[in-house]
Symmetry: C2
Subunit: 300 residues, 2 copies
């Protein structure tokens, strides 16, 4: 496990570097100027640390097929841009109205609301520029496939749709099916996307791609359950953001529905399913199995 954690920080550092390069001052061909204040807000939002779990999953899933992280890191960084933009927009006053994110002021607090909206818009847009770039894969149709994968995961039938369901759920009691759909969209979609993108970049065979998508599906669910449990049992200091807030605002979680113990058990079942899906890859998938365990059993 300690070697897993060191690999996690190693990949995070590589991703951070790729993000910083994508957010350099110099304009690219086809761009006009890059306004300094906008760049600053984008960097503030995207280079704020974090575990970089989605990039890790992408890099390791691609690694199953012999793809070096030097190649897959660009796709991983592009996915992280989408994750970071979603945090910036979710934190806005009109949405979750959060002041802190990872112990620092949220982007609209550090800058202003307009800049937070625009920095988010620009990170989302940049993500597609990055994923369509030749550096990602020599085959253009693979790059176009990745664009569609990312767009569907992030869009109205994925992450954004999940945020809409989440906001609509405030003050209501959702049943288990509604909660599961909401979570599969809001947080699950990008996690599945990370795993499937790794398969696509690695030119995976159809059954391998299906296995990684199923792995992503199960681990995405389990990750969210772990988050919901931490939200109840952890305190603000450990988490670096306000906790027990989701429950306080009446948003449904499985913890509220079934209690901590039953949810913990369900998360372990899902972890088992996730790891089971890796069996086609044999020993090569050991790191991914460790990652799955970390995602479910982490304490922050």
């Amino acid at each position: 496990m300690s070697s897993f954690k060191s690999l996690l920080s190693q990949h995070a550092a590589t991703v951070e570097k790729a993000l910083a390069a994508a957010l350099a001052n110099d304009r690219l061909e086809g761009e006009n100027t890059r306004p300094a204040r906008l760049l600053e807000a984008m960097r503030y939002s995207a280079l704020a640390g974090g575990k970089r779990l989605r990039p890790f999953l992408l890099i390791e899933c691609a690694g199953l097929f012999g793809v070096k992280s030097a190649q897959s890191v660009q796709a991983a960084a592009a996915l992280e841009c989408i994750h970071c933009y979603s945090l910036v927009h979710d934190d806005l006053p009109a949405m979750d109205d959060d002041d802190l994110r990872r112990g620092k002021p949220t982007t609209h607090r550090a800058f202003d609301e307009a800049m937070a909206i625009l920095a988010g818009d620009a990170l989302l847009t940049l993500s597609f520029d990055m994923i369509a770039s030749e550096a990602i894969h020599p085959d253009g149709s693979v790059r176009a496939d990745l664009v569609q994968l990312y767009a569907k995961a992030a869009g109205l039938g994925g992450m954004v749709g999940g945020q809409v369901l989440d906001l609509a759920a405030e003050g209501k009691s959702l049943d288990e099916a509604a909660i599961t759909t909401l979570q599969a969209m809001k947080t699950g979609a990008l996690i599945r996307c990370a795993c499937e993108a790794g398969a696509i970049i690695g030119n995976a065979k159809p059954d391998e791609r299906v296995a990684l998508r199923a792995f992503g599906f199960a681990i995405g669910q389990a990750f969210q359950l772990a988050d919901d449990i931490l939200d109840i049992t952890s305190n603000a200091e450990t988490m670096g953001k306000q906790t027990a807030k989701d429950g306080g605002r009446g948003k449904g979680t499985l913890v509220e529905l079934h209690g901590v113990e039953a949810t913990r058990q369900r998360a372990q079942e899902l972890l088992g399913q996730a790891v089971g899906n890796l069996s086609v890859f044999g020993d090569r998938a050991e790191t991914l199995a460790n990652a799955a365990e970390f995602m479910v059993n982490r304490d922050h």
Copy 2:
């Protein structure tokens, strides 16, 4: 000119249909559900009418190379998604704080702020899904090129960057160079993108692509100058939105700097340059030349 106007409405109707199809209720493969209220807000924002000038330019530029509108309309609709999302976000209270758009309540007034932000996010994301789809062009690397073209036009070095410069300009006097850069980004980028996308879809030769990009550059500038003039000379009834607002909030325009007459003259010069760039296409470009004239000499 009357046949041009009828072609303009004809293309607008085709684009409207493509947008409606992209915003259908049924989820696509790779999506979960499409939340009804989000779809409603997206349709409200994207199917609100309008001249659909950018789609028109794209379809007609592609048409120079024999591409039928049935093929290019998907790319045109994707570009219009970006334009529509930008209007929704620009209208938000934290930005231009507008209540009316084309005579109807803006999206955040008709729904709420959160939904307007998310509908905009989802339209932007959907655009990339559409432009990367196989229906656009058989060659995947062409589709990936288009994704990058759109992303650069819409992103931090294009439209979003222009909006940042625009907000930063409030209450300041910009000089001519700063105004021109701002406008080349905020409104010019998508217009250039429309023309260049048409060239890419039409497998244009390099010099033809350069000519259409130059056409788009000149006509984009001229279009904005015409807008600035209308903003001063027109009234709210004709325009369907609040006018003289930009000036009132101290945003710089060339009209403020040089007056209406000199700006009108400059717009005509640019129109001449734009049409000059079409000469390589001979008579085939007559419709585009008419479009350029309409964009500069329209009265609303």
